[in-house]
Amino acid sequence: MSAPSLLVSASPHLGAGDSTPTIMWNVVASLLPIVAVAAWFFGPSALLVTAAATAAAVATERVLGHRGTLGDGSAVITGLLLGLTLPAGLPLWMAVVGGVFGIAIGKLLFGGLGQNVFNPALLGRAFLQASFPVAMTTWPVPAAAGTWWALRGDNFAFPFTSPRVVDALTSASPLGRMKFEQQPTALLDLVLGTTTGSLGETSGLLILLCGGYLALRNYLNWRIPASIFATVAVLAGGLHQLDPRYPGALFMLFSGGLMLGAMYMATDLVTSPVTNRGCWVFGAGVGLLVVVIRIWGGLAEGVMYAILIMNALVPYLNRWTQPRVFGARPVEPAT
């Protein structure tokens, strides 16, 4: 019998199903329906903005990253998610700035996939929000009168110039209206997504479905969204009971970026805790900060900041929520 050159490798010699790229591309796939719905509401602007953010993210990963890391699909997710957090009328050059910053500073500077501390998409968005506060808070009304084809803002503003005012209808977001004008928005509109807001924060129901698919396949830790939802519902519900001027739990849950944030961004594997207990605490922290910022803060929406702040706490949470090692007794007082 001739001996083929045998393989020698370390145990275990078998591997379980899904590889990292599989997970990532599945997330990409689950985001596509959300992009499609955004396009349904916001027309070509939605596609342009997401495409610009994604292209920028991918190109940055390609140019500055290690060879071959594009295949894992994570840069595509970053780009898509960044795009989904932007207003439809944003100039494309700004979307590109966000994508480049998110990947270059938010991810590659830390060593690339898996090593970053802050959610790259959100860091990119926070950068944009701080850089271009006006453009980033100009919310076009979805499905406004006019043709589907019309741009919802000056998407094609020349790089480094301010967007021109285009006669697309804009209005305050449901949260802004609630906070600054005490005007609630109908829950059905929030659930279906027929409200203003960034591209991906319009349809809570769809996000819930797509995220649920990922949770079922164990691509994301369901404890994080569960903990966020529970915390927000309890806090908002309680405050609403105390003072009905505060918005109720359902409004809180379905308005703004909470759904997208809880399902897709707080759950980013890399920037959330590795321990399950840590995930519960992380989610509770995000929920708490969202409610605090929305109710007592200066900003109408706080999901992005809540997640970023909790991201910063993740290394600490990981340490703190380390499970008790099998057979290790809780420390007994010295005898």
Partner: protein, 193 residues
């Protein structure tokens, strides 16, 4: 007016965090944020010195400086420095354990601009004794928070394959910038009606 102690505390701790928003105390922030353990101790020692400073400054402002306003800066720096020195010696004598935990950071803090800045802010804003203490407590908590966050992040980033050019201070500053960006979420906290 700004008598609201809660607001002073929250504002000095997160909204106008000394380190992340006002760039005060960057030396310890960059220098002693490598390990969570030391960061915590540094934060505690810092808060301690801030509290002492607040009291001393209140006394100076009330009893000495009205008569010699031009000595403000010199008086602050000398009084703070000598107070810290004395406290250090006292701790060393009374509790060697506490000294080992916190004392070694005290000299580092003397020449740290957060302390002097606290004195100046407190004077400029004419805080009362109580307000001054709350302000010191809030700023100290803010410094400790920033330090601990930075330390835990640095501990985890130490295991990452950071590109060679970015290793060291550039990365730490990027993290600080990101933290500062995240802390912008606290803007306006408790100040809107």
């Amino acid at each position: 007016m700004m008598s609201d102690l809660t607001w002073i505390f929250v504002s000095s701790m997160v909204v106008n965090n000394f380190t992340l928003m006002l760039f005060l105390g960057l030396c310890p922030f960059l220098g002693v944020s490598g390990k969570i353990d030391t960061a915590l101790r540094m934060g505690a020692a810092n808060t301690f010195v801030l509290l002492i400073t607040a009291m001393a400054v209140w006394a100076l402002n009330t009893f000495v400086l009205p008569y010699a306003p031009y000595l403000r800066l010199i008086a602050f720096i000398i009084v703070i420095a000598s107070l810290v020195q004395i406290v250090e010696m006292v701790i060393k004598k009374l509790s060697p354990a506490l000294f080992r935990a916190l004392g070694i950071y005290l000299p580092l803090i003397t020449t740290n601009c957060a302390i002097l800045a606290l004195a100046i802010f407190q004077t400029n804003r004419s805080y009362t004794f109580l307000q001054g203490l709350v302000f010191a407590l809030g700023s100290g908590a803010g410094l400790a928070l920033a330090l601990v966050l930075m330390a835990s992040i640095r501990e985890s980033v130490e295991l990452a394959d950071v590109p060679a050019v970015a290793k060291g201070t550039a990365l730490v500053l990027m993290i600080a910038g990101s933290l500062s960006l995240a802390f912008m979420g606290f803007a306006g906290l408790l100040s809107s009606s």
